[in-house]
């Protein structure tokens, strides 16, 4: 496909990966990389066995364990028998089907959306699938990355393809500059607040503009990670020098002359300057302030200096009323000053080394507020090791944070890390849904890792810029 012919990255990768148009009218799309974890895959492997099918491309399939792993006591068998059974099922499946596996004691273990990029498995111009909605994270590299369900996992295992409908593309242009103390998390929460949690339905989101161009790869991952929270199945950033520099030298990235060839291919998939979009949205970066959620979905977000909104002024008053019922707050209250019980730094959204550095910068030399339970859960064993090399673990531990091993942890509380009763958690994760963090009455306030750190020290929601 010629350059400058009006195509988006989405168009180009879609076309180059199209196998066929199916009788249903759907496209059969080749999937370049399949990432597997323990929670959504066991039934898919069972379906393969029932049908007597093999894995089409085991060498394009990688597995790790993240959702159910304990982040403190990791000796086997795990204390939680159900978790142990799930881990054994995955271990058996990767052995039977000959899949490379980064298990609990492997130095490459970690949250699937942290380790894919870290190992250089995730590359521009590729299609990627994983049985997890936050697969959109990998779009940071200019990858078309699809979160899929278990029956679709079966299809990818059996055929390395998926039956999909083509999406429209919305360009989200974030221009200007971000103020100090404003992070990628604040940008994506602002975007979802503006466009709505269902606003991205039917779209892939292409993020661009000077703010995005200046972002590091880890910031772009945070941005793309929460595309699905805005209803967009796919989110991506066009690959550029920042992308290539990040990838060079990583274990699964080609070396030498092949790396040069890779860069040529990767460059060619970026959207043409004259690409046609189905929709364009402009966001002014300088107007974004540290942002937090106040309700029960990620679109219910406000700047930290704002008061809680009147439901009747919002697009969806019913969901807002339901949010107030659950959170126990009233419109007009200031969000700053709300007391917290738990502080959680972690998840596929914000558990990378730059996230931990930003939080440690706030925490250094200070103490967690009495009564606040605070934990840091690095996104991968490698992030953990790097943080320890930099002494970040000491900064957190000295302040009173628990320093844990890698996993999804309290983002969705499938392991022992969870809220109790009506606890309020300042969380760097991605979902403030009712019951998400393990207690039906638990309350989640989403924010950047630096904001979580500041909340942990203050015992309440504060503007992190007070700590600079």
């Amino acid at each position: 496909m010629a350059r400058n012919s009006g195509y988006t990255l989405y168009d180009k990768i879609w076309e180059s990966h199209t196998v066929d148009t199916l009788p249903t009218g759907q496209t059969q799309l080749f999937i370049g990389l399949h990432l597997v974890h323990e929670v959504t895959s066991p039934q898919a492997f069972d379906m393969l066995r029932e049908k007597g099918l093999k894995i089409a491309f085991p060498e394009r399939t990688f597995a790790t364990v993240d959702h159910i792993v304990p982040t403190d006591m990791r000796s086997r068998p795990l204390l939680d028998e159900q978790a142990e059974e799930m881990m054994r099922a995955l271990e058996n499946n990767v052995r039977q089907f000959d899949i490379e596996y980064f298990g609990l004691d492997n130095e490459r273990q970690g949250i699937v959306h942290v380790i894919g990029p870290q190992l250089g498995l995730t590359q521009p111009g590729m299609t990627l699938a994983c049985g997890d909605s936050h697969t959109s994270t990998h779009g940071a590299f200019g990858t078309l990355a699809f979160g899929i369900g278990t029956t679709q996992i079966r299809d990818v295992l059996a055929t390395q393809t998926l039956a999909l409908d083509k999406l429209k593309v919305r360009k989200i242009h974030v221009q200007g500059n971000l103020a100090e103390g404003v992070f990628a998390k604040d940008v994506i929460l602002s975007i979802i607040r503006r466009l709505g949690v269902g606003g991205g339905k039917g779209f892939a989101y292409e993020y661009g503009g000077s703010v995005v161009e200046k972002m590091t790869m880890e910031e772009r991952m945070t941005l793309c990670n929460m595309s699905i929270e805005g209803g967009a199945l796919v989110g991506y950033v066009n690959p550029d020098q920042t992308t290539f520099a990040f990838l060079e030298g990583r274990p699964f990235v080609p070396k030498g002359r092949n790396f040069e060839r890779a860069v040529t291919y990767w460059s060619s998939v970026a959207s043409d300057p004259n690409a046609r979009y189905d929709d364009v949205v402009e966001i002014e970066g300088s107007q974004i302030e540290p942002t937090v959620t106040w309700g029960i979905n990620p679109g219910q977000a406000i700047g930290v200096s704002e008061a809680l909104p009147d439901p009747e002024t919002l697009a969806d008053p019913e969901t807002a009323k339901r949010a107030y019922d659950h959170m126990g707050w009233q419109p007009g209250m200031s969000v700053a000053g709300i007391s917290i019980d738990v502080a959680f730094i972690g998840s596929c959204t914000n558990s990378r080394i730059s996230d931990l550095r930003a939080a440690a910068r706030v925490v250094k030399g200070k103490r967690v507020s009495p009564g606040v339970r605070a934990l840091v859960v690095p996104g991968s064993a490698e992030v953990k090791a790097q943080a320890e090399k930099e002494g970040l673990d000491r900064i957190f531990a000295d302040a009173g944070f628990e320093w844990r091993s890698a996993g999804c942890s309290m983002c969705l509380a499938m392991n022992p890390d969870r809220l109790k009763d009506r606890e309020i958690c300042a969380s760097s994760s991605n979902r403030n849904f009712i019951g998400r963090q393990g207690s039906p009455g638990g309350r989640t306030i989403l924010m950047s890792p630096a904001m979580v750190a500041a909340a942990a020290l203050s015992g309440k929601i504060v503007d992190v810029r007070e700590y600079f």
Partner: protein, 215 residues
Amino acid sequence: MSGNISKNAGGHVDSRQIKQISGKAIPARGNNIDTDRIIPARYMKEITFSRMGEFPFYDERFDSNGNQKPHPFNDPRYRGASILLVNQNFGCGSSREHAPQALYRFGIHAIIGESFAAIFAGNCVMMGIPTVTVAAGVMEQLMKDVETHPETSLTLNLATKTISNPSGQVALDIPETARKALMEGFWDSTSLLLANSDKVKTALSRLPYMTGFGD
């Protein structure tokens, strides 16, 4: 008891073809009902889907002692319903197929809503559960009708793209690809995809990363 899934009438009977679903309906009111509400993550720690039918809306249906709370899924008037009625952006959040599996195993065989989240709707099609949409005003009337006369049967017809009940008929929307997949029995897509293995080889020969960018 569950709804009647009609088979292809006439000579060739293919159990995978889903053209019409009739049954009682059950409303679950509210926009943006996420998959954590449909099935909390702590009930997903199982290696099969077999028990998922016990868990739909668990935290909304039961208190911490396991006692029932008021919820349509606990309401005897809706017992045996096979068609779920929902509002906007139903199934947002996680990709967990445990959510539609929980609903299906509870007895839900079709969902009518104002809109659905993408991954949830995709999972439903893969399982042979039609997710069809109607406008907000139509949904309000359907929900009111069902709340007033829960014993009434609805019929969802994919061939005519209509929903009918004793008080009349309304048009439904469904992506044409999903309608075809369900009606022609292609929703269980593995065999369709497997049949193209030669074309897969052609497609991947265009992709330089498949050879590590080597010669």
